[in-house]
């Protein structure tokens, strides 16, 4: 996997408010490889959702670059250039109740992208596509003429996935796609996303705070803290050998469905003041192949020995 689909370089997203500047995303640099799932985890307010939204240009980046297939997503763009990106990148949102227009039928919701990009020549072709998509996500044809309120949370999330797939994207950003769903339904949606990835070679950026699900679905995971990535590693490696103290604290806080391990659990607490940077700006450094940790020179020396 060396084929980079997405390169994010020094991405910053600052919000200017009356109370000062909020540095939601503060200098991110990472790549997403074609066909992989990159998980992004962190606590609320760490900037993980803002990252996703900035990559897809729902926000204009304060500075930095997002290269998709080598082309910058941000910067001045003509309508047709924007359309091209919009077709290749899609998003699945957290709340399946708020992200579907209640006044549109399921067919119109799913076909909106098809209409905008002119992917269907006739009405018949449009409906065939909608029906195919519904079946792909495990719903059926009869659902096309219904409205969102007639569906359960899990079914709505399937509609959201069908809408994202309609324009045949290469890359999907899933922002907490399962957080609003029940446990038994979460597994259904995750299995569906994995199946679609296998069949269509999709690339995912999977943003979530449920670490066990992220580990299950992701090839690599980035841990965010205060607008920065503090650790980035292959999923198994991150869980087996977490290096950054924040990652350790986060991992130690996940309750596991196993009473014995819960009884003996030792929770670690992260104290940002343990870092003695001495004015030195911490950087992402590679401590073992593919495993990056944000640290100073001195910390790097202790991490690699």
């Amino acid at each position: 996997m060396t084929d980079k689909l997405l390169e994010i370089k020094g991405l910053k997203q600052h919000f200017f408010t009356s109370k000062g500047t909020i540095k939601a995303v503060d200098g991110l640099t990472f790549d997403i490889f074609r066909g992989e799932t990159l998980g992004l985890v962190g606590e609320s307010g760490c900037g993980k959702s803002t990252t996703g939204r900035t990559i897809i240009r729902l926000y204009d980046a304060t500075s930095g670059e997002v290269l998709f297939n080598g082309e910058n997503v941000h910067g001045r763009k003509s309508r047709s250039e924007l359309k091209k990106f919009n077709r290749k990148m899609q998003m699945i949102f957290q709340d399946p109740y708020a992200s579907l227009n209640p006044r549109m039928t399921v067919a119109d919701i799913i076909a909106e992208g098809i209409d905008i990009h002119g992917l269907a020549k006739t009405r018949k072709e449009r409906m065939t596509k909608v029906h195919e998509l519904l079946e792909t996500v495990g719903l059926n044809k009869e659902h096309a003429n219904r409205y969102p309120h007639e569906f359960s949370g899990g079914q709505r999330q399937r509609i959201g996935i069908a809408r994202a797939l309609a324009v045949e994207p290469d890359f999907i950003i899933a922002d907490e796609p399962i957080s609003a769903l029940d446990v038994s339904i979460q597994a259904q949606v995750v299995n569906l996303m994995k199946k679609l990835q296998r069949e269509r070679g999709l690339t995912y950026l999977f943003i979530a705070h449920d670490l066990s699900m992220v580990k299950y679905i992701s090839d690599r995971i980035g841990v965010m803290y205060r607008g920065k990535i503090v650790e980035l590693a292959p999923s198994d490696e991150l869980y087996r050998n977490p290096v950054h103290p924040y990652t350790k604290a986060l991992l130690s806080a996940i309750p596991l469905p196993d009473p014995d391990s819960e009884k003996t659990r030792q929770r670690k607490i992260y104290d940002p003041s343990i870092h003695d940077y001495n004015g030195e700006e911490p950087e992402l450094r590679e401590v073992s192949p593919g495993h990056y940790v944000s640290c100073s020179q001195a910390e790097f020396a202790t991490y690699t020995t």
């Binding site: 606590e43 899990g154 446990v183 038994s184 259904q188 009473p259 819960e262």
Partner: protein
Amino acid sequence: MSRLLEVKNLAVSFKTYGGEVQAVRGVNFHLNKGETLAIVGESGSGKSVTSQTIMRLIPMPPGRIKSGEMLFDGIDLAKKTDKEMEAIRGKDIGMIFQDPMTSLNPTMKVGAQIGEVVIKHSKVSKAEAKKRAVELLTLVGIPFPEQRVNQYPHEFSGGMRQRVVIAMALASNPKLLIADEPTTALDVTIQAQILELMKDIQKKTDTSIIFITHDLGVVANVADRVAVMYAGQIVEMGTVDEVFYDPKHPYTWGLLASMPSLDNEAEEELAAIPGTPPDLTNPPKGDAFAARNPYAMKIDFEQEPPMFKISDTHYAKTWLLHPDAPKVEPPASVQRRMRKVDNVYRTPVLVAKDGE
């Protein structure tokens, strides 16, 4: 161990335009002094309705207690008038809700909100109530309590707000604390802090806790005993070890199998429970879980299963435990967690109709 709460054959329904929704359909359980009972289940399984009925917070109408008793210290809460409940609610039974922002009054100082509870249930002056508020904030681990009592909820973070809500619930030393998804809206690190706090307080005050959640990790962390609810009924109940290491009901298997485990290296597909929960305006005949149950037998679609007793403390409501039922193997990921649990009967015993 003495029983603080005993719920017998509780049934609660709601009248709606679409018909009568049978949210809780015959629930039996008890709670001992000083223990934590976790109620798990997905949305719509009746876990919140059960706890709100104990608190008598269900608006009636449209709600109605169709049958059953809720004996709290031997007194039936179902028969209390609203006026009588006011003396119990907040005093003997405290409640913690999911969203700390909507359960606090944004226009009142935190100290005044806690003091309100203190004044309502014991005859003290405002100054004393405030002193007590400071004590309670100290108890729930809020730094600088003397300054914090004079602040408004918006000046607190989510985790700190939930601590305030817990302080309020504890204000009158309740015997029973009902916590309805108290950590669902919080981040994992904050969740861990709140869970530790609740266990710590329980140790100090010997309060009994009913903990409602859908997160099995949280259950494993806090619970002494677990009740699994599905479609308005308890389908399995036992000690935390029994339910996690020797589960008997196929729905419990499904819940456990649909969670990925962190140390699971194998790239196996998650065993999702297919379909969606049934519509309770018209509960299915037979076993409510049958339509989603890969182990369903013919009888599951015809006749509701009885409760079977697997040990003194472990119950499950499934025909699979009947002597005539075929032997089935739980999903692989559940088998891996299975282990021998003490005091299991040689064969499951059919429980008389009334459950416990």
